[in-house]
């Protein structure tokens, strides 16, 4: 796939759009690195479902605290003002609509905002949901950060998800290596294009029908 953004550039693209003061949960995998790309001086409070608010940068190897991990079970740090709480409180924050934003990875997103991100087959090895279903329905907005196509070049943005859903109709915006796409009542509208990428290229790699950038 030539011409698209790197994973770090994708994360930075999304991070630029997070305003100061938002409370944000970052899903495991690619979304986790969004925290490294928030512009300097902008205060954003990162939440992790295992009971941490105010997560800071990854620690240096000699500063790892084995008691302090994120939802991906990676060592993290706590910023001044950070706090710990138990799981029921953590999911009260999530389900109760207290998070401004959740960023999740996905296998597929449909043009109606359906997201499939927890399993590709129900007959696979032990399926794992984790916090994804609660996060998808609970945060005030759900943005997806993912590669535009699979490694095999198949579209991930589809008319209908073929994988089991995490939640129906919840995705508000999609950031990929090619474009930023809003999920609207009229359908999927391209909001921004990666440098050197045109609309036709994005549409050619998308199963669902796209609407062009509004001018």
């Amino acid at each position: 796939m030539s011409g698209g953004l790197s994973r770090a550039e994708m994360a930075a693209w999304l991070a630029r759009d997070i305003p100061e003061g938002w409370y944000v949960n970052l899903g495991i995998g690619l979304p986790t690195i969004v925290a490294d790309h928030v512009p300097a001086g902008r205060e954003v409070v990162f939440h992790s479902e295992n009971g941490v608010l105010g997560i800071g940068p990854a620690p240096a190897p000699e500063q790892v605290d084995p008691w302090l991990i994120n939802a991906g079970k990676q060592p993290v740090t706590l910023l001044p003002g950070g706090s710990y709480f138990h799981h029921a409180d953590s999911f009260a924050m999530i389900r109760g609509g207290h998070l401004d934003l959740c960023v999740l990875g996905a296998f597929q997103v449909a043009d109606n905002g359906d997201i499939a991100n927890w399993t590709t087959s129900l007959s696979d090895t032990a399926p794992a949901i984790g916090g994804a279903m609660d996060l998808a329905i609970g945060a005030r907005r759900l943005w997806v950060l993912m590669e535009h196509t699979t490694r095999q070049g198949l579209p991930r943005i589809v008319r209908r998800c073929s994988y089991p859903l995490t939640a129906p109709g919840v995705v508000r915006r999609i950031y990929t290596d090619l474009a930023v796409i809003d999920v609207t009542a009229e359908g999927l509208r391209v909001r921004d294009l990666a440098p050197g990428i045109d609309f036709a290229t994005v549409q050619a790699r998308t199963d669902a029908t796209l609407l062009p950038v509004s001018r």
Partner: protein
């Protein structure tokens, strides 16, 4: 004098019966009461149902209990460990252990409800997905919710950072996770701690789990003790 401390893991686990539902705190390995869960091997209870966020990783703690064949059923949100197939995944593929998969927030709330005397509740999580298929839903205020039931335990195995003889507890950083919720949700709440302190040492404002929820406390060796 109230003294909930016991002198050994064996004493702490006394009375957990075959077929018991055991709530096991922890998120991954952090905050998991490994001395207690491994103590169940010598204790001998069989056909256990283990409720935990994960299904064990590596070869210690829950993975050891699973490998010993003591677990009939696992209720969890994320039954995957680190790299490679876990003990759980091998047993699950071989049909030797049952799995109930529960969204993480629903798991936490089912435990909270059990501890709070609430038998069931409606949640938006899982509506429109396979986990809601064939189950009771209800529309409230224009939104559809799924009925979920409380999940009480016969016993809870808790890892606390500090404990006193009344069973007051504190936790360390993200080692808190499910532990305070599970401590409220079982008929027999058993705590392992590396820091047993005198009554009155814990500031009342700092106590996360008040002793009313706790039945037994056992001091276990720290990793530093084990190396000494």
């Amino acid at each position: 004098m109230i003294d909930k401390t016991v002198h050994s893991v064996a004493e702490a686990l006394d009375g957990i019966a075959d077929g018991a539902v055991v709530l096991l705190g922890g998120f991954g390995a952090v905050g998991q009461a490994n001395a207690l869960v491994e103590g169940l091997i010598a204790q001998g209870a069989r056909d256990l149902t283990i409720v935990a966020n994960n299904a064990g990783a590596g070869k210690i703690g829950l993975a050891r209990l699973l490998a010993a064949g003591r677990v009939r059923r696992v209720v969890c949100s994320f039954p995957r460990g680190g790299a490679g197939a876990s003990v759980f995944e091998e047993l699950y593929k071989a049909g030797k252990v049952e799995l109930e998969i529960v969204p993480q927030g629903t798991l936490a709330e089912r435990l909270r409800a059990a501890g709070a005397g609430i038998p069931a509740f409606y949640t938006p999580t899982g509506v429109g997905t396979v986990i809601a298929e064939g189950r009771e839903t209800r529309e409230i205020g224009g939104r559809t919710y799924l009925l979920e039931y409380a999940l009480p335990g016969d016993a809870a195995l808790i890892e606390a950072w500090q404990a006193d003889r009344w069973g007051n507890l504190t936790y360390r950083a993200s080692g808190r996770n499910f532990n305070p919720v599970m401590a409220t949700a079982a008929r027999l709440t058993i705590v392992q701690t590396t820091h047993l302190v005198e009554l009155g040492v814990l500031a009342p404002e700092a106590i996360v789990t008040p002793g009313i929820f706790v039945d037994r406390v056992v001091r276990v060796a720290t990793p530093a003790d084990a190396q000494a």
